[in-house]
């Protein structure tokens, strides 16, 4: 199921956490490279050219965000960050610096592997041809710009389409509020988070079976949104 021997770089200073990541990722067939410091991680990224990097945000030498910036100067490899609870600001900073998704410590291995798989899939098949989004109750054809719910066409506004399209580009991964606002409304509206609240509600009302307990348009409180198929 996974690409044969894909390489994952782990940048994490805690040896016990590295051990647990190594064994669970190894059991899934990934080849694992470990770095105990941020500087080492940035170098290992260039020499090993991994298919994905998992970077802890609480490194002892340099900030994990700095490692992400260095990697992003030359690579689009998927980057996942590990972060503690109640550190939403650090997560946002990492995501805006180019990380693709995050996992909050403590986490179970199931959650970790799910995130890794989604990120790998995006790397293998970059979301250029968007195709049709299949939701529980509705389908959205992003190219024909048509949405159907129970066989009937649902009218989506141009902004609603732009919002879904941008979320769908990162299907299964989190997109920060700032990224969405900048992409959909433009950089002058990067702080107008109430636009997002209003439009996400509209989208959920139109496309979710239960708008209050959404299955597809998921809120990552304080960080952003995630579209799940």
């Amino acid at each position: 199921m996974t690409a044969p021997r894909a390489t994952i770089l782990i940048v994490e200073d805690e040896p016990e956490i590295r051990r647990f990541l190594r064994s669970s990722l190894g059991a899934e067939g990934y080849k694992v490279v470990e770095s105990a410091t941020g500087r080492r991680g940035a170098i290992d990224a260039t020499t090993h050219k991994p298919d994905l990097a998992i970077i802890d945000l609480g490194l002892p030498d340099i900030d994990g965000v700095e490692v992400i910036r260095q990697i992003r100067q030359w690579s689009v490899m998927p980057v996942l960050v590990l972060s503690a609870r109640a550190r939403e600001h650090a997560k946002i900073e990492a995501l805006d610096a180019g990380a693709d998704d995050y996992i909050t410590k403590p986490f179970g291995v199931g959650e970790l592997l799910a995130r890794v798989r989604v990120a790998m899939r995006h790397a293998v098949r970059p979301a250029s041809g968007l195709g049709v989004l299949k939701l529980e109750e509705a389908t959205v054809d992003l190219e024909a710009r048509k949405a159907l719910r129970a066989g009937r066409e649902v009218h989506l506004t141009p902004i609603e389409f732009r919002l879904i399209t941008h979320l769908a580009k990162h299907l299964g991964m989190v997109v920060t509020q700032k990224q969405l606002l900048t992409e959909v409304w433009g950089p002058t509206h990067a702080e107008d988070t109430h636009y997002l609240r209003i439009y996400m509600k509209q989208l959920r009302d139109k496309l979710e079976k239960d708008p209050v307990q959404p299955r597809h348009f998921i809120t990552e409180t304080g960080v952003g949104y995630r579209l799940m198929e």
Binding site: A86, H194, R197, I198, M200, V212, Q213, T221, G222
Partner: protein, 365 residues
Amino acid sequence: MRYSGGMEKQAVWIGYASALGAALLCTLIGLAMMSRFDVVNIAMVYLLAVVVIALRFTRGAAITCAALCVAAFDFVFVPPAGAFTVDDIQYLFTFAIMLVVALVISGLMERGRRQAEARAALTLEAETERVRSTLLASISHDLRTPLAVIAGASSSLVEEGDKLKPEEQRALAQSVYGQARDMSELVAKVLEMTRLEAGIIELRRDWASIAEIAGSVLARLGERLAAHLLVVDIAPDLPLVRVDAILVEQALANLVENAARHTPAGTAVRVSAERRGNELVVSVEDRGPGIDERDLEQVFAKFHRGRSDHGGEHAGTGVGLGLAICRAVVGLHGGRVWVERPAGGGAAFRFTLPVEAAPAPPAEA
């Protein structure tokens, strides 16, 4: 108690202003009495003012009042009027009485106040000590038990792993995982409460939708609520609120978790939100055993645990911080939190958040 410094300064200032006011008032009263009463009776009015100020305010204010009264009395009423000179030596005696009264009464009051403060400080100290020991007792119990399980189960796996059947290995690993998760939640709560109490939390206010926050809470706690009948009733057109969504999510999660913990499986838990005037009211209602009348206020105190747990799946695992965190968070946002005993039984926890008008996004063609 911390802000008492500023309060006291203000009270001192008010004391001096009152002293001046009292002297002026007495002079007016004295002027009205002058035609019909003896000057000595007017002195009594001044004396009364000195007593009142001495009882109510600081020693400094009392002495000031006495001095002002003496001066006003002398200048306006004591012959020769309109001058600070005194013809009759007996008035000097009146002046002295006023000063002595001011000193004696304010001295008595001061001593009484100091004793009261000392008693309050002692009580506070005792209270702090009590909270600290409850914290220790709570934390050490709630940390030790899962640690014992984790250490025991994992050591079996390490040392006896080969001899155990696969399903036994699995069960042991499962309990390590479960206990570690509970413990990490507990530690997160303790840290959260500590941050809230230290006053180092800076609210990151942002426009938020309570429906969205409730959705995240229910997604997060879905597993916990699996055995309950969940009813969600969020009014469709609620205004946005300007809050720290992460903290409010935590506050609501604690209420929902509390309901799941203290009510038996199969009973209903209702999560609702509605607008009442300039407030949003968010409620979590359950059909559990309810809250004792005596505990309506007490349940929000730190380390308070229900008098008895009634068979909720996680009964007895709470550390008694969830509701205290909820109260602290809601308070930071200028809202209120309380619990009611609905007529139909169970408990209804509610909190409010103030509503502001959010600017509308640009209209689409």
